[in-house]
């Protein structure tokens, strides 16, 4: 697989979008700068936000 090279640093938003379109570029960037905390926090919060409406629907059904 051909790797794209990029000397610039990708922002978190760019990494999140490029992981779907050009994942090699994100991973090449991670080789230089392996920051993960902000990404993990955003992923966990979005995951929670995607779950809460369904849980409240279950709670509403039970009550």
């Amino acid at each position: 697989m051909e790797l794209e090279s990029d000397s610039g640093t990708l922002s978190l938003g760019q990494k999140f979008s490029l992981i779907f379109t050009s994942p090699s570029r994100v991973f090449t960037e991670l080789e230089r700068n392996h920051s993960w905390l902000a990404a993990l926090l955003v992923i966990s919060l979005v995951s929670l936000a995607a779950t809460l409406p369904l849980l409240s629907k279950i709670k509403h059904m039970a009550s």
Partner: protein
């Protein structure tokens, strides 16, 4: 098809309320912890591969790859949310983005549980983990991908088998 019978323990409103509270606490904990657990486990598996092949890469770099590899699964959660909001809560059991769609809701046989594991988003996430691991380890994507896929297949087969067996024991 073996289907789960109605649970008599949930017939009272109090029991139903307790079950709903347990589901909510479990759902919140799962939503927060699943991305972390996925990243920890996948990075550990990549590190085990790295012990035998490729350039040596620190665990924290493989962990960062695994965090970003979770994004397709996050996308599947958002699709699940969209489906859930447009589906009555009584029919949540019928919501699936895996091959479990081919089975009637609340079917817990081995093929049904195995089909529930075959989700394009998990395969996409595993592919990304293999791709990222291969780039960092300067190894072939095919080798890392085969290793990750084989381990996932063993997990899927074992969890489906034991899941179906334990449900069969519970409900006869």
């Amino acid at each position: 098809m073996q289907q789960m019978p109605d649970n008599p323990a949930l017939s009272s409103p109090e029991a139903l309320d307790m079950a709903a509270n347990a589901a909510i606490i479990g759902g919140i904990a799962g939503a927060l912890l699943t991305p972390l657990l996925f990243a920890l486990i996948v990075a550990l598996l990549l590190k085990l591969f790295n012990a035998l092949a490729g350039d040596k890469v620190p665990y924290r770099k493989l962990f960062s790859v695994s965090v970003y590899a979770y994004l397709p699964l996050l996308l599947s959660s958002l699709i699940g949310l969209a489906l859930g909001l447009t589906t009555p809560a009584e029919n949540f059991g019928s919501i699936s983005i895996s091959l479990y769609l081919l089975f009637p809701p609340d079917t817990y046989t081995f093929p049904a549980l195995l089909a529930a594991q075959i989700n394009p988003f998990i395969l996409w996430s595993l592919y990304l983990a293999a791709l990222g691991g291969a780039i960092l380890m300067k190894s072939e994507v095919k080798k890392v991908g085969s290793y990750i896929f084989l381990l996932w297949l063993i997990y899927a087969l074992a969890s489906s088998y034991f899941g179906a067996a334990s449900i069969s024991n519970l409900y006869g």
